[in-house]
């Protein structure tokens, strides 16, 4: 059963995510067509990865600096942001930076400890797909996007704060 939500629907996940310690050969020899590589590998082998026949995406861990993707966002169809534990909220800011500062138009996916109660916030920060953590009730999670009808403040999803929409 898929546990990936995109556009508020469950979808199959074509992407294979490779862990931090992989090398370039592991990517090239992998049978998958869509591969998410760790940030460090991307930084080191960007050109080779771009030249290979596969679709390549990147995942950032919570301490990685999204600004370092400034020149790459145009080439990436997907950027995954890792939540190593739900209370590590750095990836919320990373998503905002990718959207608002770097004007990233591709897909941003939350990975890691992605729980129901964070989905509403993630969506507001410009994250648009959600690879749920093990054990999260999928039906329940799909309702999270409607937890609140509106937000007071300016968000990626709705840049006008409520006071400019009244």
């Amino acid at each position: 059963m898929p546990t990936l939500i995109k556009d508020r629907q469950l979808i199959d996940n074509p992407w294979r995510l490779l862990e931090k310690d992989v090398d370039l050969n592991a990517v090239l020899s992998d049978t998958a067509e869509h591969i998410v590589v760790p940030f460090a590998l991307w930084q080191e082998h960007k050109d080779s990865l771009m030249d290979c026949a596969k679709e390549i995406a990147v995942w950032l861990d919570s301490e990685d600096d999204p600004y370092e993707l400034a020149n790459d966002v145009i080439d990436l169809p997907l950027i995954c942001l890792n939540f190593p534990v739900f209370r590590d909220g750095r990836a919320f800011s990373a998503a905002v930076i990718l959207r608002e500062r770097l004007n990233y138009q591709g897909e941003i996916r939350a990975i890691g400890d992605v729980l129901r109660d964070q989905l509403f916030y993630m969506q507001k920060c410009g994250i648009d797909s959600f690879d749920l953590a093990d054990g999260v009730n999928v039906e329940n999670a799909l309702e999270a996007f409607n937890d609140f009808s509106t937000s007071y403040m300016s968000t990626v999803e709705e840049p006008l704060p409520l006071f400019r929409r009244r």
Binding site: D88, S93, V96, E100, Y121, M153, P161, F163
Partner: protein
């Protein structure tokens, strides 16, 4: 929770590593010397911070205070962000922005990173501070996760540069505040239906002349009001024998009724563990006083020695290293005589039962901290703290004391002050002038 919601109360963001509820001066909106009512600005910040999607999982909890009066009663400088409302020479409102203040195990006074932030930019600037903190604050150790540690680690100037760099993107963006929104929020904090009254009242003056306790109470617990003929009434919840700040349900119902009858239904709670009736007519003061007296709520020593701020301590709290309420009581019993307290004058005494500092002992003129020494409860004393506009952190007097020694220790400290004070000098001013040494000599004399 549903019942709370019926009276416009909630518990949202009252725990967790998020932006907690914004606090301010208990006299906001009624203080005679106010620069600007801070409440609408608190409300603007409350709305911005409620369910803020980016800042709900910060490294640690986060507290913001706003102060609109020259006499800071909000402990602004010991908050994660402190905002002093100012006016520039054109009369425009802005904020002096301080970051990285806090108490607890690492007490720090906030550092100014912006001298004057025009009001339009309040939220974008707060966003910038929060983003820097969210990204770079430590998450590996919860004792080093508050913003004060980040500001110290980077240095104030480097922190300011990061904030300014972040702010450049959002400055003048859609989150820039509008006059309309400020006016709308001010609309939530309008004046009650004040009457036009004289600012003097002969019957009250006569009552004060004939009732000594009432005159004490008038002098200590009643503050001037921005509106002629009105006064701010403070209920000092420091009756000796009752835990500081405690009030029974019966008393609370009584205060609520009193507020309905005499203060437009408004009661406020202070971080000094007292209550405030914000809008009492001068002509009603004696009636209100007599009513309060029937419920033991007319204790006339606001701001004096027995107005002790005290955490629940070891009697109630599982984090505590030592009891604190019995210490407060033993000191209150020693100084119970009002004339003694009045002679000592303005002073703050704060007690915490552990280094989490819920009793704000670092910013008490006299601070008492309960410590655990090989399983026994001892008390460390600090002098010279203040939460005023000139905030300062107390310095440790010396080795700690047993519980039974505490009243004598405080007595000696007070005596050093009384022997050394110059005209009109309060406890803090004398300490700042003569330093720690005379206190140390007196307290530890013959100790060996």
């Amino acid at each position: 929770m549903a019942e709370l919601a019926e009276v416009e109360m909630h518990a949202i963001q009252t725990s967790g590593n998020c932006i907690r509820n914004t606090t301010t001066d208990q006299f906001a909106g009624v203080a005679v010397d106010e620069i600007e009512d801070s409440r609408p600005w608190c409300e603007i910040i409350r709305q911005w911070s409620s369910f803020h999607p980016e800042f709900a999982y910060l490294p640690r909890k986060f507290k913001i205070a706003v102060c609109g009066t020259p006499n800071d009663q909000a402990a602004t400088q010991v908050h994660d962000i402190g905002l002093y409302i100012k006016k520039d020479n054109k009369g425009e409102i802005g904020f002096q922005v301080l970051v990285g203040g806090g108490l607890g195990r690492t007490p720090v006074i906030g550092a100014t990173i912006c001298e004057f932030l025009p009001w339009q930019h309040l939220l974008t600037y707060l966003d910038a501070i929060m983003r820097v903190y969210n990204r770079f604050g430590r998450r590996d150790n919860k004792y080093k996760a508050r913003i004060k540690i980040l500001v110290k680690a980077l240095g104030v100037e480097a922190f300011r540069e990061k904030v300014e760099a972040e702010w450049l993107y959002d400055k003048d963006g859609s989150a820039t505040l509008t006059q309309n929104e400020v006016e709308r929020c001010k609309g939530f904090f309008t004046d009650p239906d004040y009457q036009e009254l004289d600012n003097t009242d002969q019957t009250i003056a006569d009552a004060a002349a004939s009732d000594l306790l009432f005159s004490h109470w008038l002098e200590r617990n009643v503050a001037p009001h921005k509106k002629s003929g009105y006064r701010i009434v403070n209920l000092c919840l420091k009756e000796t024998g009752v835990a500081p700040g405690d009030i029974t349900d019966t008393q609370m119902e009584f205060v609520a009724d009193l507020a309905d009858k005499y203060s437009f239904g408004e009661v406020r709670v202070t971080h000094e563990q007292n209550l405030v009736l914000t809008d009492v007519r001068l002509q009603d003061l004696y009636t209100v006083y007599l009513a309060l007296k029937t419920e033991s709520l007319a204790t006339p020593y606001l701001g004096l020695l027995n107005d002790i701020v005290c955490c629940p301590g070891g009697d109630f709290c599982s984090l505590a290293n030592a009891k604190s309420i019995p210490i407060a009581e033993s000191i209150q019993r020693r100084f119970e005589d009002f004339d003694v307290q009045k002679n000592i004058g303005e002073i703050t005494l704060n007690i915490s039962g552990c280094m989490n500092a819920c009793g704000h002992h670092h910013v008490g003129n006299i601070g008492i901290l309960g410590v655990d020494k090989k399983g026994a409860e001892f008390y460390q004393v600090t002098l010279g703290g203040s939460a005023d506009r000139d905030t300062s952190l107390g310095k440790v007097l010396g080795p700690s004391f047993a519980q039974s020694e505490m009243p004598d220790v405080i007595d000696k400290i007070i005596n050093v002050y009384l022997e050394n004070r110059q005209e009109n000098e309060n406890f803090l001013a004398t300490y700042n002038r003569i330093g720690m040494e005379p206190y140390k000599e007196k307290v530890y004399a013959n100790a060996d």
